[in-house]
């Protein structure tokens, strides 16, 4: 097993380097003039200057590996550039936007786990019951209804028609209290968490009220996937011999499922963690855009639309590294839990 883990760890830098190359190649698709425009914020900078001179100056006509090396050096130094869509340095933009994204993801994980995994195994245990039928219909519609359709529908229903939830991140008075009154300490930037740390339920309730709809929208898609995987995995496990044996031994069904089936059925579920994160990253882009939440997803969408290359490249790198590392951890854990893997 140790050999397996070491092998995985050795591959890691290789994959990360590949990631960098792919990301850079995307940038490299631009012609030198476009690259120049990416660097230059204003027309006037290009006035009275021959663009070709500037292209030479920035080395934009050099072979790709030369430019790559230059960029790579900057990335290693942590200098990711200036994001014109965020009006901040890329590093600062991450610092500002990440808490919002983390908050959204954290809260979304609750319905995802409850609605996905719990409902999934429930529907497998009670195969063909009402719960099962409901779960299956839910899964297949969840799979089919695009997130942006669901989001707009929610916006229309709960914001426009019913006036249940307000848009934005915080109400005006709460926002002023949190950020300018000096009576509230911002520890993490994750407002709900900070509200708990400040033991301030007024702020917490307001923050939650604004979060409910985006959280549900974000959870929606991962829900369907997890439900599906959990259900089929659970069904498969329940057909295994040792479950039959357990039942034959006369153990109550509840115990059989809790002690024996659930643990094993969740192993394949864990392996799709990487996929779930990848799906969430995509989901964040859409959710944050629709609900106007200042997170990294919305930032990335703006960056793509407005050709903010430093931001876009940094975002891709970030999400790539996140997924690679998450997959690595899952694989290693998996290898520890399930000895069969090591044979591969």
């Amino acid at each position: 097993m140790l050999a397996y883990i070491i092998r995985r760890l050795m591959i890691l830098p290789l994959v990360l380097f590949g990631l960098l190359v792919v990301v850079f190649q995307m940038y490299n698709l631009l012609d030198p003039y476009q690259k120049l425009a990416v660097f230059v914020p204003d027309v006037s900078r290009l006035k009275n200057v021959d663009p070709d001179v500037l292209i030479k100056e920035y080395g934009l006509d050099k072979p790709w590996w030369y430019q790559f090396a230059k960029w790579f050096r900057n990335v290693l130094r942590g200098d990711l550039g200036w994001s014109q869509t965020a009006h901040r340095s890329v590093a600062d933009a991450f610092k500002r936007f990440l808490p919002q994204t983390v908050e959204l993801t954290l809260w979304a994980s609750i319905p995802i786990i409850l609605g996905g995994i719990w409902l999934g195994q429930l529907s497998a245990v009670k195969q063909n019951s009402m719960v099962d039928q409901f779960a299956r219909v839910f899964a297949v519609t969840g799979w089919s209804l695009p997130m942006f359709v669901a989001g707009i529908l929610g916006l229309f229903l709960f914001y426009g028609l019913l006036h249940w939830f307000p848009p934005g991140r915080l109400s005006t008075d709460v926002g002023l209290y949190v950020f300018t009154s000096g009576k509230f300490r911002v520890y993490t930037g994750i407002i709900t968490l900070d509200a708990i740390l400040n033991w301030n339920w007024w702020v917490f309730a307001d923050a939650m009220r604004h979060l409910i709809l985006p959280v549900m929208t974000l959870a929606y898609v991962s829900w369907a996937l997890l439900l599906r995987v959990t259900r089929s995995s659970m069904l498969e496990t329940l057909r295994q011999e040792y479950i039959m044996t357990a039942r034959a031994k006369g153990l109550p069904e509840r115990v059989v499922i809790k002690r024996h089936a659930r643990k094993n059925a969740l192993i394949p579920v864990a392996t799709i963690a990487g996929l779930t994160i990848a799906g969430l990253m995509g989901g964040l882009v859409i959710t944050e855009t629709i609900f106007n939440l200042p997170g990294i997803g919305r930032w990335a969408a703006n960056a793509a639309r407005q050709f903010d290359m430093p931001a876009l490249l940094a975002y891709l790198l970030f999400s790539g590294v996140l997924i690679v590392v998450a997959n690595l951890i899952v694989d290693i854990l998996y290898a520890i839990i399930d000895p069969r893997v090591r044979l591969e």
Binding site: V15, W143, P146, L225, A278, A300, A301, A304, R305
Partner: protein, 293 residues
């Protein structure tokens, strides 16, 4: 044949097939039910005036006019055709790439396999939608760039699947026997392995058709997909976004801008998922899908 009959006997599968047939017919007869204004650019939606405010369904415009006075019926019909073209192209191309690479890797093994699988790993590390969004933005606003973006970050699942299948089949007696008597490798691959290994890939591809359409529409929705006047469901849904709150006293004032394109894309994906689900149950109950948006 047996598969097809089984599929039609499954009520959910049948629903899916019926829906697909419907969408297929719409796509085929699009030039007749919604004659294009510019025959050489049929996907460009004609606009009826330059007002911004949408107008409700009326004679001549059965689904109404969306923000910017684009005919919603026209957009939905040609959007259907576009959805077919895009999903078939993307799934076809990514399957072809994935299958080829997976097969080569698994069959030759060793360093070839290692290199291919590491490349797969690298591409797997990108979140599908985000990466496609970035690439589409860089390539510019055309169908071609959207397709390239989706294929670039979508072929890996087929490669892995194919590799697994081939690895399994490689050890089978008949393949070993064929190798032993000196049948050329490409013949083994094409006539022995491919026909057997392709089914799981086929099922996965079916299940991905819907999610490809969703992702492609998401690109337009996010503003990095097609040009504004292109008949695309995602585009039309994004038109509705700024009007969805409705008017005072009439929150449903602009319902038609959202319901028709939103309904079309949802039903289209639903159809593929129903068919895919049923197929999976029939062909291999152990297959799992991959993530969509």
């Amino acid at each position: 044949m047996k598969t097809a009959i089984k599929l039609l006997k499954n009520p959910l599968g049948l629903t899916g097939v019926v829906l697909l047939v419907f969408f297929g017919v719409v796509a085929l007869v699009a030039p007749y039910i919604a004659p294009p204004k510019w025959p050489d650019e049929p996907f460009r939606m004609p606009r009826y005036g330059y007002w911004s405010e949408p107008r409700p369904p009326q004679p001549g415009h059965p689904f109404g006019l969306s923000a910017g006075q684009y005919d919603i019926f026209y957009g939905c019909v040609w959007g259907t055709r576009l959805a077919w073209i895009v999903s078939l192209l993307v799934v076809g191309l990514s399957t072809a790439i994935g299958v080829t690479l997976g097969m080569i890797g698994a069959f030759y093994g060793g360093i070839v396999d290692e290199v291919i699988m590491r490349i797969t790993d690298v591409f797997y590390a990108f979140p599908f939608l985000s990466a496609a969004m970035a690439l589409a933005a860089i390539l510019g606003h055309t169908v071609k760039s959207g397709v390239i973006a989706l294929v670039t970050f979508g072929w890996m699942v087929y490669a892995r699947l194919m590799r697994g299948e081939v690895l399994r089949l490689k050890e089978m007696d008949y393949v070993q026997a064929a190798r032993a008597v000196g049948v050329p490798i490409y013949r083994i691959l094409i006539s022995h392995i491919l026909p057997n290994a392709i089914w799981p890939v086929f099922v996965t591809a079916t299940m991905n058709m819907g999610s490809i359409v969703i992702t492609f529409a998401a690109l337009s929705f996010l503003g990095v997909g097609l040009p504004q006047d292109y008949a695309d469901w995602g585009q039309m849904i994004s038109f509705s976004r700024d009007w969805i709150i409705g008017l005072h006293g009439n929150p449903l004032a602009y319902w038609y801008t959202f319901v028709f394109p939103g309904g079309a894309i949802t039903l289209f994906c639903l159809a593929w998922n129903l068919v895919g689900d049923a197929l999976r149950d029939i062909l291999d109950p152990r297959l799992r899908g991959r993530i969509a948006i």
